[in-house]
Symmetry: C2
Subunit: 153 residues, 2 copies
C-alpha cells in the first residue's frame, strides 16, 4: 500500500531516498506557484525540524528538484522545478512583490542577453524585478477605490 506518490517518484528519479519528509517538503513546494522561504516551509510542515528542512532543501537543490531565489530582502526562497529534465535553475527572471513579499517565477520570460566587457567569464545570471504583484495591485485599487478617484492612472 505504498501508493507511490508523484513526489516519491520524483525523488527516486533524482536518486534520493523518498522519505515521507522529503515527499511532504516537495509537495508543499508543488502546492504553490510562489517561492517559499525556509520559514514558510517550517510553518507549513510544523512537525518537521527546521534543520531537517534546511538539509532537505539542500538535497533537493543538489538534485535539481528545486532552485533558490533571493528576494531583495535577502531571504532565500525556493521553487520546485516542475519539468523533470530541464532543471535550469536560473533561466527566467523573478518578481518580488514589495507588498505581500511573494516571489514568483516569470517562467514565460527569458533572461535578456547582456553584453559584458571582455574578461568577464559568465557562470550565471539573476534578474530580479521588484514591485507590486497583480493581486496586491488589485487589492489596493479596490481598497482605495470607493470615494477616491478610482482611476489609478
Amino acid at each position: 500500500m505504498d501508493a507511490p506518490t508523484a513526489a516519491a517518484k520524483r525523488l527516486k528519479e533524482a536518486g534520493l531516498r523518498p522519505t515521507r519528509f522529503r515527499e511532504r517538503t516537495l509537495e508543499a513546494l508543488w502546492a504553490t506557484d510562489a517561492a517559499l522561504s525556509h520559514k514558510d516551509l517550517v510553518s507549513r510542515l510544523p512537525d518537521l525540524d527546521r534543520v531537517t528542512i534546511f538539509r532537505c532543501i539542500k538535497q533537493l537543490r543538489k538534485s535539481s528538484l528545486l532552485h533558490k531565489v533571493r528576494g531583495t530582502d535577502g531571504v532565500s526562497r525556493f521553487v520546485a522545478n516542475r519539468t523533470s529534465g530541464s532543471s535550469c535553475p536560473g533561466n527566467h527572471p523573478h518578481f518580488f512583490c514589495l507588498s505581500c513579499g511573494a516571489l514568483t517565477c516569470l517562467e514565460g520570460l527569458r533572461l535578456p542577453h547582456l553584453e559584458l566587457p571582455t574578461g568577464f567569464e559568465v557562470r550565471g545570471k539573476q534578474f530580479l524585478v521588484e514591485g507590486i504583484c497583480p493581486g496586491c495591485a488589485q487589492g489596493r485599487a479596490t481598497a482605495a477605490g470607493p470615494d477616491e478617484k478610482e482611476t489609478s492612472s
Copy 2:
C-alpha cells in the same frame, strides 16, 4: 584648519552632519571600485564600532550617497554613488565574482528592458551576473599556464 574634505562636502550637500566617521566611511568606499560589505568596512575602519558603521551606511543610503547590492551569497555590499546628482541606485547590472567575492558595478551597461505580463507594477530591477572577474580569470590562466607568460596584458 578644517580643510573641508570632499567627503565632508558631499555629506553637507546631502544634508548630513559631516562627522569624521562618516567622512572616513565615505572615503573608504570611494577608495575602491568594488562594492564593500559591512565586514570589509569594519576591517578597513577598525576603530569604528560595527553598529555605527551599520547606521552610517543606512544614513548614507537614505541620502543616496551609496547604493546597496546583494551578492549571490546573500551578503549586502555597498557602492558609493560617484555622481552627485544622479544617484539612481539600480540602473546598471552588477557582477559578482565567484572566485574572489568581489562585486563590481557594470556602470557602462544599461539594464535590459523586460516586458512583464500585464498587472505587474515595476518599482525596481536588479540584474546580477555571476562568474569569474577579469582579475581572477587571468590569475587562473597564469597559474595554470606552465610558462607563466608574465605580460600582464
